[in-house]
Structures are given as structure tokens and as C-alpha cells.
Subunit: 339 residues, 4 copies
């Protein structure tokens, strides 16, 4: 951590800051410049609150050198983490996973038909939303527990582990009992109470990046879950908000190699929500595999034009199958496998 103080700072103020840092067991090196006094702080700076130091009127700026996360940091955990989702392994050199299914569970028949379709096409997990975060209070809000039970039936019928989004702590027990991979949506990435609750269970968590959150904030949210005791975290990029209007979000594929540098956690890509347009899903899926992603989560519907939500971004099963076939070949080029 680097602290820059203005040249005219009274010595007493400078000393007070240095003593405060040393009292925390940190060591401080001074660099004298023409216009600033700069201090290098060495030790476990994750415990230092930079906003507190910044309140001193003589402090000009504070810069972190070391990352503020520990448990997610590859520096302290060099080998890849592999997360086991009810038998399907994600990360490291394991096979690239493909999670397929509808945005919303709409009924028993619908989810069973889609589950069989995506399995036949090559998917290794089934997704389906039962509790839906919707921008409008007048839009369909999901089937709730009924939807979860239909997902359970689809798992029984196909053997595919199931993935669904948890929106609040009060349903955590239900998810721990019935769901194989608990998805935390973009809008809840910094719902810290929910993250703390997830830290207390052992179920794998699929943590989506927030719409406008930096990679560092995303990793800090994973740190919340891991610091609580649950190390089963899979990251999921789903596009960020930018000024562009032709796509719903901007899919940031450079996070794949970058997250793999910074962290040991697996990372998968959601091209459906990122683009909001099924016509872009195949090419973005192939690009994600080429970039080194550990998996894909893709919206698939039997009748997209009759879907109750997000039909515009859902693939039909046949197109999903073609995508997987091409994806397998891309995977081979970069030395990975895919079912």
C-alpha cells in the first residue's frame, strides 16, 4: 500500500499515521519527493481501511499494491480449484460443462421436455428459474417452490444436476435441500447478507458478475462466501453495462484469462443474458471456449416465441445441439474436452 501526503503536512500528522500503521504490525518505508512524501506500507494491508486514512486532509492519495482478496487469490493457492456439482466437475483440466435450460420454469411438461432435449444435445446440467428477478412488478415472477419441484422431477428423469437462482436468504434451506448449484444473479452480487448466508453452507454457488461491477468487486464477493467457510464458488460472466445499445450488455470475454491469472476459481460464460439475442449466442459460445472458459450456461426453450420470459435470447434445442458439436472441436484445439 502506497500513501501519498502533501508536502506541507505537519510532522505530527505524518507521525500519527505512521504510528497507526505500525501499531497494526505493518512496516513503513518513506520516500521523499519534491512535491510529495510517499510511504510504502508492507504487511497484511487487507486489514487497513483506506477511506479512514484518506480522511486526513494532508493525504493526497492511497494506492493498493496487493489485492484486497486472500482466499480467492491465486498467489496463495496456485493450483486450479475444481468444484464438484453433484458429480459434475468444473474447472482445472476437467471437461468444459454446458448448462442448458429455460429462463423460467413454466410447468412440469415444459421443463421435462427441455431437460430431455438439452441432455440429448450434450448438456451436463439443467438450468431453470423458479424465483425470477424482474424489473417490472407487473411481469411474471416465477413459479416459486412449485418450479423447484418441477426441476427436481426433471433431474430424476434425466440425471442432470440442477441450477436455479436464489433471490433471498429465506429460501436458502429449500435450495440446499433440492438444488445442486445455487445461482446468485447479477443484481444480488453485492447483497452481502445473502453472501454471508451462503458462506455457512457447503453447496456450490454460481456467482454472476454484477451489471456494473469490476472484476475486483466480483472477486471480493466470492471472498465473502469463501471467508464464511464455503469454498465451492464458480464465477459466471454475463455481460456488463456500457453505452452500447445494439446489444443488451457487453460480454467481456477478456475476464476469462484475467480471472484465471488472479484467481484459482473456475469461470463460466452466459452468452444468452450478455447479448440478449439468440442470433449471437452460438458465436459468443465458441469464442468463450476458445478464450479458455470452464463452461457455458445457455438459455434453451422448446418454444421461445411462447416463453414467459427472455424468449428473445433462447435457442431452440437443435441450434443448441449444433453449438455443442462445434464447441467440442474448439475445445480440442485448446487442449480441453467437452461432453
Amino acid at each position: 500500500m502506497i500513501i501519498t501526503m502533501k508536502k506541507g503536512a505537519p510532522q505530527a500528522e505524518v507521525d500519527r499515521i505512521i504510528e497507526g500503521l505500525e501499531a497494526k504490525g505493518l512496516s513503513v518505508t518513506t520516500i521523499i519527493g519534491a512535491n510529495y512524501n510517499v510511504f510504502g506500507v508492507v504487511g497484511d494491508t487487507t486489514i487497513v481501511d483506506e477511506k479512514l486514512i484518506g480522511a486526513n486532509q494532508y493525504v493526497d492519495s492511497i494506492t493498493r499494491i496487493a489485492a484486497p482478496y486472500k482466499k480467492v487469490n491465486r498467489l496463495f493457492h496456485p493450483e486450479d480449484s475444481v468444484i464438484d456439482v453433484s458429480g459434475v466437475k468444473v474447472g482445472g483440466q476437467e471437461k468444459i460443462v454446458v448448462i442448458g435450460g429455460p429462463c423460467s420454469v413454466e410447468g412440469e411438461e415444459q421443463i421435462l421436455e427441455i431437460a430431455k432435449g438439452v441432455k440429448e444435445a450434450g448438456a451436463t446440467m439443467l438450468r431453470g428459474g423458479a424465483y425470477k428477478p424482474r424489473t417490472s412488478p407487473y411481469a411474471f415472477q416465477g413459479l416459486g417452490s412449485e418450479g423447484i419441484q418441477y426441476m427436481v422431477k426433471a433431474r430424476e428423469a434425466t440425471g442432470l444436476p440442477i441450477v436455479s437462482e436464489l433471490m433471498s436468504e429465506d429460501k436458502l434451506d429449500e435450495f440446499v435441500e433440492y438444488v445442486d448449484l445455487i445461482q446468485i444473479g447479477a443484481r444480488n452480487m453485492q447483497n452481502f447478507n445473502l453472501l454471508k448466508a451462503l458462506g455457512k453452507v457447503k453447496k456450490p454457488v454460481l456467482l454472476k458478475r454484477g451489471l456494473a461491477n469490476t472484476i475486483e468487486e466480483w472477486l471480493m464477493s466470492a471472498e465473502y462466501i469463501m471467508a464464511g467457510g464455503n469454498e465451492n464458488v464458480i464465477l459466471c460472466e454475463r455481460g456488463i453495462r456500457t453505452f452500447e445499445k445494439y446489444t443488451r450488455n457487453t460480454l467481456d470475454l477478456s475476464v476469462v484469462p484475467l480471472v484465471k491469472q488472479k484467481s484459482h476459481l473456475p469461470i463460466i460464460i452466459d452468452p444468452s443474458h450478455a447479448t440478449g439475442d439468440w442470433r449471437l449466442v452460438e458465436s459468443m459460445s465458441l469464442a468463450a471456449i476458445a478464450a479458455g472458459a470452464d463452461g457455458l450456461i445457455i438459455e434453451v426453450h422448446n418454444h421461445p416465441e411462447q416463453a414467459w420470459s427472455d424468449g428473445a435470447q433462447s435457442l431452440k434445442v437443435d441450434k443448441f445441439k449444433t453449438l455443442i458439436e462445434k464447441g467440442r472441436k474448439i475445445a480440442q484445439v485448446i487442449g480441453r474436452e467437452m461432453d
Copy 2:
């Protein structure tokens, strides 16, 4: 609502969409262009899910003409709403309110001292965080219920209504009992379960704009609360995330006149979180008043350099007092009053 379909769309597809809309009680007008067929849809289009229609492969684009919100819409509620916060009125031609206080409640003595200071300076409400949303799991997370009780004591000592942030539904009863104005932070603006729970109580809600949420999404979150039955919503702009790095966020003051066009709800400004720098707070506060804001929420601390959170953006009481004195004069110029 305008629906654009590609020229080559089979008549059966076109008919199916028109029939679907008419079945919902909407009327459809057709416009034939050289390259597109365009349909104008008239009626209560808030019930139409545009993503569903967009799933049709012949649909090129869908554009809403009418706003997707109803209860927050000034079109259907032309007069300004005035929200009563335990006797302090916010909005319309009422006095401009100033909410002052620390980021976090740190102890009984601290909050009492600050409460007396901000009251003496001219504040009409007291803010103080007891449950704190922090990016890092290693940072101070707030005093919780203890902090709320210290706030209650500060209210007893000064008579100032108290404002504090609610982070999850399980504390709602506590807030309804003890807090005068329930703040929903930027990170929870789209925590829809929390919004629904707030719709069931009558306490006033201070709804902060999300870091990267559009004005429309913000108004839709207010709509969630109002649609649930709680019409006591005050909006609060606190800066949005942009590419700029010299300020923590970019304070968007144009939302003040814009929100007043679109909605009848009061809007206040938080210059402390927006800028992240106490040196910018006074000028942004005066600018907010000049722009027509119904109030300000400002971080004030007795010892910012020893604060447990966000010291860098907190004013000392004397500077806060100066700000209020100047603010009163600006208010007069635009025909408003301020205590």
C-alpha cells in the same frame, strides 16, 4: 408500443402476433414501409412482455412509447407528492430537507455528539448506518441493533427523525418499529424481494439509485414499492459509475429536473457518496439545491480521520453549518425555503 417486423415475415406469423395483442384488449394499427412492417399497439402496454414478442424470428425490434411505470408516473398523478417523515415533510413546495450524520454509528457518545452538532447546524433529520454494506468481508460491518438503539437515543435527545439503511427483509420489523425513514442502498435497488416487503408496510422509504441503473429502472423499483401498497417513496441520487477515475462516482444532477418531469415523487441528493471526497461536497450541495432538489443527505463526522468508514467523504460540523447557510440563500433564489 411499436413492433417492427421484417418484410419477408409469413402472414401467419404476423397474424399470430396481432391476434395475441388483440386478445389482451390492445388495438393494433399497421404501417407498411418499404423494408419493414410496423405495428402501433395502443392500450395498457405495461402488461405486454416485449421479450416474448422479440423471440419471434421475424420481429426486428420493439419500442415502448408509454413508460412502463404507472403509479410513479406524473402523467397519472400531476401534483407533487409530499412525504411525511414523522412530521418532516419532503417534496412539493415544502422546505428543502437536510439529513446529516455519520456513515456508521460507532457508539452512543459519537452519535449523540454528531446529532446535536447537525441539529444545531440546521439539519432536519439524522442519518447513521447500523447495518453496513461493505465490499470487503474484512471491513467493519456495523453495530447492528445496538447501533439502531443509539440512533433512537439520539432522536430522543434532539427530536430529529432518524434515517438508516435496511439490508435485508429479516430486519424489517426492527426498522418499522424504530426508524423514521428506511434507506435502501444502491446495491439493493433491484433486490426485488426487499422491495416487495417494503410495499407491505407504510414507513417512508428512501430509495437510492443503483450504481449503474437507468432512471427508468430506478422508477420501476419505486413502482414495486408503490404497487405493493406503500406510496411513501423518496428518491435519492448518489452518483453513477462511469469511466472517470478522479471521483468515486459521477453525480448526475440532471436527474433532478428529469425525474420531476417523469414522476411526482420527491428527489434528494447525496453528494458525499457521489463524490467520495469531502472537498467536493459543498459545491455539489449548492448545485443540487440550484437544480431543484427537495433535499440533501450529507455525511458529517466529529472526527472524520478516526471514522470507522467513509471518513474521506465526511464533513466536519462547522463546514456542514457553512454549507447550510449558503444553501438557504440559493434556495431563496429559486423560490424555495430551507430551515
Copy 3:
């Protein structure tokens, strides 16, 4: 084009707008809603200035249905354009091109060595900056004409067509004489005088997307060049500016399939400027090929740590060669070839 007027608009104002549109040869259909009067305007709406209509105080909003570009629009030119750069064909089903070379030409020996290296590795064109747009006036500004002449020598030695950035009209003659593909940098994407000048020559232009320009604005800049008479335009995505700080820019690969829907022009990707980090270049290059890009432009340097500019994002020749070898295999999977 859809024009929405407020309900209370005087009939005379409504009539005046309709007459103005009809006088331009457009036809107008009226849709009456409960709260708005909506008009659908059919015909060549590229000639209508929406800001002019928006100045009418009774107009609520204006929405374009048809794209504002014509010559770049795939609707009117369904087959892919193939651009011939001194014998190297770009676009359609032609081979994927790889343009390699240093950020800046630093001397004759340097550019010759790199040119031979990239050719041997598989590149089909050579890049090198002679006129450099630098944020700081104190940074190296390029060798100018001397640099162009070294590029010419490198072309003579290797046979590779050369690509270099033009920063102002006064050097256009020099570029037309010596350069094979004229690059327009992100900062000049909306330097309209320069675009007009390029419209008057026949040389192929590599038009980079601006740092914060929408796809529509980018296509409009291509339209400027084509409307002037030069149809040889190749688009190049190089990352957009977002809030993320771990990468220099955010590479938006979804533009590849999207631009191919909207336009017939070829599109290539610059992963070096997008990421600003050589460690991310290989995976982003492979992703770009998988996404369907028509080519890559990559910074390669013999001694990146001694480069005069942008060393941090330059690959060494051996890594560049490995990248091309993997890229060829990805190209095959999606049915394309690459030298």
C-alpha cells in the same frame, strides 16, 4: 420513424409537422392512444433531422425504425464485401488475415527484423506506426515520413502489404502513395473532415471503432467514407471504454456477429490495444476467430521491454507464431481458412 406527440398538442402544430414530412415525400400514418398521438413515418427517413422535430415543445419522443446508414447496410447489399489490399483479400469467405508488427516504427533495422519475423510466423500484412497519437505531448510522437519509408523497405524485403495510421489530411497524399491500407485510429473515428478526404481516394481504409462510440456511430463513419465514393472500408474493433480497471479497454467481441448482420463490410479485431496486456492477446485472438472475425491486427516486437511505445501489449515473434498455429485450427472448425 415514429413520432410521439403529447395529447394536448394543438391541431395546428400537429398538422404543421405532418405537412412538413409529407412535403419531403414521406407518408404519415396516425395512431391514436389514450395519452399520446403517435405518427408512423414511411419513406427515406435518412433525410429527416430528428433534432429539428424534437424542438417542437409538443413532441415527446422520436424513434428511428430504419437504420440511418445506407451504403454500409446489408439490407441493400446482401452479399459480403471483399476488400482487396494490394492482393490480400479481406472479408467474405476469404482467408482470415493476420496483420502483425510493432506499435511504432523505431528504425530500419527494427522494422526489417520484425517484418521478417511476422512473415515467417504466418502474417499476411505488416503494421507499424509512423505518426503516433500520444496522450502526452512529452511522449515519443513517431518517426513520421522516415518511418513510412522504413515500412516501404520492409514491404520490399518481405512482400507484405503495409498498414499505418493516418492522423491528418495533410499527409493523405503520402499515404496514398506509399501505404497499402490506411488505418484511422479510434480517436479520429469522428474526425469528419478526415473521413471526407478518405472518401475521395480509392485506397482501402481500416476504420477503428472509437473508444466510446456505438456500433451505429461507427457504421455512420464508414458511411461517410463510402458516401464520398470510397467503398474499400474494413472495420476494426479495438475495445471500448468501460468502468473496468483491470484491462485497458473492454474488448467487445459480440460486434463481430452483430456487424455482420447489419453490414456487408469485413471486420477484424485488435486484441493488443483492447486489452493492453500481451498475456491476454492469444486467448482473445482465438476467441475473435471463433466469433467469426475476418482478421486480426496484433502488436509484435522483437524486444518489447525496449519498445518506444506500448511494449506492454506486444507479443514476441515466437508467441505470435504459436498463436497463428492455434488460430488456423480454430478457423477450420468454423469453416474458414487462415494462412
Copy 4:
């Protein structure tokens, strides 16, 4: 400047970097951490190219402490600069200036009528575009030299200094001869050749912030002009590009106090282009004055609904007059004057 190297870096690499820096006359202090070696570099670091150092594979990150600009830096020029525009002084404690006029000069009669109107309303300079940067090649491109001559006539008639936008170097002589304040538009903020040309003349320059440029980049563009020898630079904020869609741009008023901290140059605000909506111009103008701006530049038209460009954001003269009257009173509150 702080350089962070990975722990495993070979001593030879470390030494090579340190020697390189010392050879430039800089002094280097070493800080040893558990996971990194950190170096503090003291001296004139504006001459160091961080990208060059970043190319070393053992370098993890580089952070600047000192600002990269010198001539615009308040640190080396503590007193406010006051720029004289043909007798009208801008900056410091001078009167707040108001520049009014149409987006485009459309004819002699139009500009004369508006010039008289804005003067009568209280404006101290006249704006008017003769060369227009337009997104579409099919939109009105301005009257060119003819427009400049009409501006000259308007100056003769009213005595108001004239402001107009220069788009390319080849018209610089014309502007130096006829225009009082040369405006550089947002799209040309990083047209470095144009900035260099401006450095060689003495005419005052109004440098608009780019659509997506940071404050630091903006100050660096001012540095280009000043480093060339022209110290007469006035900065102008005109809104930045964000995800918000209800306004054309997001007006960032916090730049006013921030720029005044970092630099001694005057700063004015353009609320017309920032918002794109005349209904927001008055409140944003008053806010700008309250924030401490040295001036305003506002679009005014006699017949906005017939304007050839940007009518939607133009005020009529009577509203412009009301705005100035209110602005004067706001100016008094903060201790400034306004004509």
C-alpha cells in the same frame, strides 16, 4: 511513480530497470514486501514511459503519484489563470461569462437577430457554428466561410466577441483572423495534430471535454496546447457518455471544483449539449453557477422548431433572459458577479 515487481524476478532484471531509471536522473527507493518488490521513483517522472517498463514480464503494475501534466497543474501555478477574449475576461474572480447563440449559423438575418437578442438578454459572447461535425454525412454540414463572415457581421453589430468551432488545421488561419475564441469540439479533443497547431498561435482556445475522456486526458490535451506555447486555454465540460438513455449525455458538474483543485485554468459548462433537452438547460445552468463555474455556453435560437441542427436543445431568447436573471442571483450567493 511506484513500480511493483513479482517476487521471483531475477536480480539482473531488477537491476536493469533501476539503472535505466537512474540513468534518467531519477532516484529509486526499494520497499521489500512478502509477495512483491516495490520501488518508489522520485524526480521528473513525466519523462518515463510506463508502458515501456510494463513490458517487462516481471513487472506487475506501475502507478503514477505525480500528475503527468505540468503547465496546466495548479501545483506549479497556484494562482488562477484569467484568459482575455478580445476584452472579455474569463476565470479567477472575473465576472461569470455567458456565451449564447445558435448551434449553426443559418444565414445573415438569423445570426443578427439572435446576436441582438442574446446581447439584450445579458450574454457577453456570441456562439455560432459554421463548420459542423455531424454524425451523418447526409446532415447539414454548416455554411463554412460564409457562416464565419455572418458571425463577423454579428460582432460588428453587437460588439460581442465570437466563438466558433474549428474542425481541421487547414482553416486555422481563417479562425485566427476572424474568430475571438476558437472552440475545439468533444470529438477533436484528442486530435493531437490540431492541438499542436493551436499551440503555435496565441488565440484563446475553448477546449471541450471528449465524450468519454477522463479529466486527466482532458488536462493532457490542454497541456498539448500550452506546451506548444499557447497558454490561453479555457476548459468546457459538455457531458460524458454513460449507460443512461433519458438524457443525451450525463453532465458531470463535479468537474468544476475538481478541475479547480488540479488546475489553474478557467472552466465553463455547456448544459445544452450535455442534456440535449432545452427543458433541462435552466436548472443545469443554475447548478453550474452554484458549483463555481466560470461561465456558461448555451444554445439560443429564435425559432428552435425550424433550426437546421440541434433545435431540441435550444432556448428561446426570453427563456435565456430569465435564466441569466436567476443566474446573477445565484452568483451573488457564492461571491461572484455576472453581467
